[in-house]
């Protein structure tokens, strides 16, 4: 089992979700987050006060998959979330020790 954490541009969420659904992936968790990497923030000016806004709004998408499904899912995310411009985001893949479905007590691959 692996967990995919993808930070993507907010407007790409629908495309990414549709691509993952086509692969048969049945669930995911999405959070509105703020952050920055190499993409610069912007400046906001309110009369005499100038503020540099470094943290830009992004979407963090989390999905846990069986090992065999990971490669295809990562490829789908990278393909659909790409604009080619700075700020497209990153995908992280992490190992997961176990998973339990609360309703049925199923564990491991059966639970994801």
């Amino acid at each position: 089992m692996k967990k995919i954490e993808a930070i993507i541009k907010p407007f790409k969420l629908e495309e990414v979700k549709d691509a993952l659904s086509e692969l048969g992936i049945e669930g995911m968790t999405v959070t509105e987050v703020k952050g920055f990497g190499r993409q610069k923030g912007h400046t906001e000016i309110y009369r005499g006060s100038e503020y540099t806004v470094d943290f830009l709004p992004k979407i963090k998408l989390e999905v846990v998959l069986t090992d065999s499904a990971v490669e295809g899912a990562v490829a789908a995310i990278v393909k659909t979330a790409k604009t080619g411009k700075i700020g497209d985001g990153k995908v992280f893949v992490l190992p997961v020790e176990d998973a339990i479905r609360i309703r049925t007590d199923e564990t491991g691959d059966k639970a994801v």
Binding site: E44, I45, Y46, R47, G48, S49, Y51, V53
Partner: protein, 527 residues
């Protein structure tokens, strides 16, 4: 020939209004009069009887000759003195209607106009502190006004008991609204009920202190605000309003023949905007900066609220400026026009300057430019023509902009919502520009022979001469100097008094938490 035709038409119009007035009167007093009056109201055009049933509150009208009756109505029509008709005065429904609407409009400038304009500019944890400030001041000042304020500003008894004091404060005769009834106080308006006039002036006394606390936003406790306002009304506002607008005032060039400084201020450039703006500067210096000022981001939490507030201020300001004619007359019409032009030009210029120097025209720039335009035209609106208004709009969009952005950052004072930059600086510009751009043809009070009275008091105090010599700006500068001195000294005294008694600021922790919770136990938004 043309003139003669015009007078015939006016005579006919006056006779027609006379017939209508009779009809309305008999309708209004149907309860107290004999029931036979009702049919007359049903068919006003056909029945000559209304002429025989005058308003019971003015019995002199019935016994007057038709010529004098027409003269009386013509005086109401043109907002002039009815004395030559020999008929005792009464209020006029048309002028009263406009003044009641104007009063409601000016109240709307504070609740909710200013509350939303300022409220949108603070962080969300302090939105309710702005609303409570506006609401609290409205209630406190209303009570002070009823008890003492109206009399101290518009009374005249001190001028007989102590002439020097009479130049600074009004009198005691109207304490607790004594004698303030539906008949006009002809020292201020021939045709507007005194109770309506006093409420109209109350709404000015409400918004003026409320403006101050934009500069002190997000760090002054509610109790300290109320204590400051209580003292400030007596020490700064009541004397200043009397000096500028009171019939016996020191700087009332239009109405007081004995005015020492023949200055003019139509709707409150000195009384409202300079007094609040200069007070705001001193108070924000006494108070100190917000914690984290210059380091933390303190962005407005909702420019949408600020926009709505600005729009309400603009609309309400028609009551403020055009209403300051205290009549629905030609001067009000001029003020209505100049107010619109100056505001539009101000709201055009400010974002244009931003676009040129900062790269983008901002919504806050539109809002700021509109308010600045309204501020700068305020003292001038009934005294300048449309060209003057456009010039004023350009000044409004540039000078306050420079103070709110560049000067503030150089001197690093925390005028949080730019009360000084917009109202203090804008009001001062307006007071001076009024002296430069004044056009006596738009307002007969500035002419040697005033339409309102047989002898214009402005002939005696030097105002007419000053306008003719183009030296009015000197009197305006003196009035501005007195206003600044009074606001600065008064604020130093009251500000330190409150600081060393009940204190001005919340604890550091409380300021971080936000004034809404620590002062009011509420939150503006729950997510």
């Amino acid at each position: 020939m043309i003139k003669k035709t015009t007078s015939v038409i006016r005579l006919l119009a006056a006779v027609a209004s006379l017939a209508m007035l009779g009809a309305v009167t008999s309708t209004l007093h149907a309860d107290t009069n004999a029931p036979a009056a009702a049919p007359a109201a049903a068919a006003p055009a056909a029945a000559p009887t209304p002429l025989a049933t005058p308003n019971p509150t003015n019995s002199a009208f019935a016994s007057a000759s038709l010529t004098n009756q027409v003269a009386f109505l013509e005086a109401a029509h043109s907002n002039s003195n009815p004395d030559p008709s020999g008929i005792a005065y009464e209020s006029d429904p048309g002028h009263n209607a406009w003044m009641m609407v104007s009063s409601a409009f000016v109240l709307m400038m504070t609740l909710p106009g200013l509350a939303l304009f300022y409220g949108g500019l603070v962080r969300s944890k302090n939105i309710l502190s702005i609303i409570a400030m506006c609401f609290g001041i409205t209630t406190l000042v209303s009570v002070l006004w009823w008890a003492f304020g109206y009399s101290l500003v518009f009374g005249q008894s001190f001028s007989t008991t102590n002439p020097t004091l009479g130049l600074i404060l009004g009198g005691t005769e109207n304490f607790f609204f004594k004698g303030v009834n539906s008949l006009p106080n002809t020292s201020y308006a021939y045709w507007v009920s005194q109770n309506v006039y006093s409420i109209f002036q109350l709404t000015f006394a409400i918004i003026t202190p409320a403006l101050i606390f934009g500069a002190t936003a997000e760090r002054m406790r509610f109790g300290a605000i109320m204590a400051f306002v209580f003292a400030w009304m007596f020490i700064v506002y009541f004397p200043l309003a009397h000096m500028v607008w009171g019939a016996t005032g020191l700087m009332n060039g239009v109405w007081n023949a004995a005015a020492k400084i023949p200055a003019i201020d139509f709707a409150g450039g000195t009384v409202v905007h300079m007094s609040s703006g200069w007070t705001a500067l001193i108070l924000c210096l006494i108070l100190g900066k917000r914690i984290g000022h210059g380091k933390e981001q303190m962005m407005p939490h909702s420019l949408v609220l600020t926009f709505i507030g600005t729009a309400l201020l603009w609309v309400g300001w028609y009551g403020f400026n055009a209403g300051s004619a205290v009549a629905a007359d030609v001067v009000a019409a001029n003020a209505f026009t100049t107010t619109t032009l100056a505001t539009a030009v101000g709201a055009f210029t400010w974002p244009l300057v931003e676009w040129i120097f900062k790269g983008k025209p901002s919504v806050l720039g539109f809002c700021s430019g509109a308010v600045a335009g309204l501020v700068v035209i305020t003292p001038a609106c009934g005294f300048v023509n449309s060209t003057g208004a456009v010039i004023i709009g350009v000044v409004a969009g540039t000078i306050p902009y420079i103070f709110s952005t560049i000067v503030k950052n150089i001197f690093k004072y925390d005028d949080a919502l730019d009360t000084f930059g917009v109202h203090g600086v804008g009001g001062t510009c307006g007071a001076l520009l009024t002296g430069i751009l004044v056009d006596p043809t738009v307002n007969s009070n500035l002419q040697a022979v005033s339409a309102g009275s047989p002898h214009n008091p402005a002939m005696d105090n030097g105002l007419i001469t000053a306008i003719a010599n183009h030296s009015l700006v000197v009197a305006q500068a003196k009035a501005a100097g007195i206003t600044i001195a009074l606001a600065v000294v008064g604020t130093l005294v009251i500000g330190y008094l409150v600081k060393f008694t009940i204190g001005l600021r919340p604890s550091v922790e409380g300021e971080h938490q936000g004034l809404d919770i620590i002062d009011h136990g509420e939150e503006g938004y729950t997510h």
